[in-house]
Amino acid sequence: MNASMSREERFEQVGLLQIEQGEALGDDFAHPELAATRRTYGALRQALTTVGEEASPPAGWEARVFATIARRKSARRRGGWLRLLIPAGAAAALAALLLVGTPPGPDEGVATLTVRVEAGAGPARRGSEAHPGDRLRLEARTGDAAHAELRVYRSDRELVLRCSTAPPCVRQGQTLRADVPLPALGTYQSLLLLSDSPLPAPAGTLDADAGSALEAGAHVTLGDEVSVQ
């Protein structure tokens, strides 16, 4: 230790380390001359606990996490090679499109939401493009949730379906089904909301509605996205 070092400099070099190590400060550092310095560092440590306090995650972030999980899962199921051929964003969208109708895996828990596209004239099809005039067939496993609701959003901003027990929804036991027409171009994102308490009314956008449902304690399950072209 440099003999010419001031008491404050020694405190900064040795005393602060002792504090971080959880050790008692040496007698030299208890000197009244260092009272202001000790207070300054105490205030600094306190101020550090509040850094970034004003930051909070954007509304609906939890829904985006689950959407990303679903897309990555879909991409893995159908082969990651697609990602090498097309940009990541397009890969995620295409993977979701190709997987229309793929039932969720066993790790999805009680709640599942299966999405199928039924062609305008013909049987339900899997892994094919949807076109205007096709229909979306939703089938959800709801478990014992007191409140179950299906919603479909077009391009994340327009709520085109919301139902629970009234048509077009049909609830039988632990299954909830609905048929939805796909009249216009766009991406259609379906949502299953489960809760033991009443669900919050939708505002009309996917992020905001999924966020408010999660905040209200609801369980939110995203179905595969369908792109109508």
Binding site: E12, L16, L17, I19, E20, Q21, T40, Y41, A43, L44, R45, A47, L48, T49, T50, V51, G52, E53, E54, A55, S56, P57, P58, W61, E62, R64, V65, F66, T68, I69, R72, D107, E108, G109, V110, A111, L214, H219
Partner: protein, 192 residues
């Protein structure tokens, strides 16, 4: 200090969900209890809101994918911060390439930057924001240590697991950063 350390119910609830094989429920608990505090960490680590949001989101996506293999060698919170640290360091690298604004601790300016102490700016400056800017100037490894220790109130043994470094190394990083932060604040005309 953060209250998260005294929040074992979240850990228990998430672990119970994992035992049932319900990863989605476990992740929901983790997002509910640690989502906000992890976001604060990401924002200060990355210094760019868009990139911080992405790092925050990917932390939970990767957590979901790794939950099935969670071995319980640490708390879920420590494990989650370990993932976040990697994601945020990656994001911070991208942010640094974009802005070239980070400096190493030893390279922090020792004298006031005239542009930073303009009177108008000083008048409306919040101490917390000023401190945040000083933290932004720390080298990423030092910034991580300071944030985990004080913003997140994480113990040094847990930090050692998160950062893959010895507790003594982390203690030294934090101790050395404190005078740097003090000078940085003083250089902005603020006394603690």
């Amino acid at each position: 200090m953060s209250a998260a350390l005294s929040a074992p119910p979240a850990e228990d609830e998430a672990l119970e969900a994992l035992e049932r094989g319900d990863r989605k429920a476990a992740l929901t608990v983790l997002m509910r209890d640690y989502g906000a505090t992890l976001y604060r960490y990401c924002c200060k680590m990355v210094g760019n809101n868009d990139l911080a949001e992405e790092a925050h989101q990917m932390t939970f996506v990767q957590a979901y994918e790794g939950l099935a293999r969670f071995a319980g060698r640490s708390s879920l919170r420590t494990w989650l911060f370990g993932i976040a640290r990697h994601r945020c360091l990656d994001a911070a690298k991208i942010a640094r390439r974009r802005s070239r604004r980070f400096e190493l601790v030893d390279e922090l300016p020792e004298s006031p930057d005239e542009a930073e102490v303009a009177e108008d700016e000083l008048a409306g400056r919040d101490l917390r924001q000023a401190l945040g800017r000083c933290i932004d100037k720390l080298a990423p490894a030092v910034r991580t240590a300071v944030l985990l220790r004080y913003q997140q109130d994480i113990s040094y043994p847990d930090m050692a697991q998160i950062c893959k470094a010895r507790p003594a190394t982390l203690q030294a990083r934090v101790a050395r950063a404190m005078p740097v932060l003090r000078r940085c604040m003083e250089n902005q005309g603020l006394r603690l």
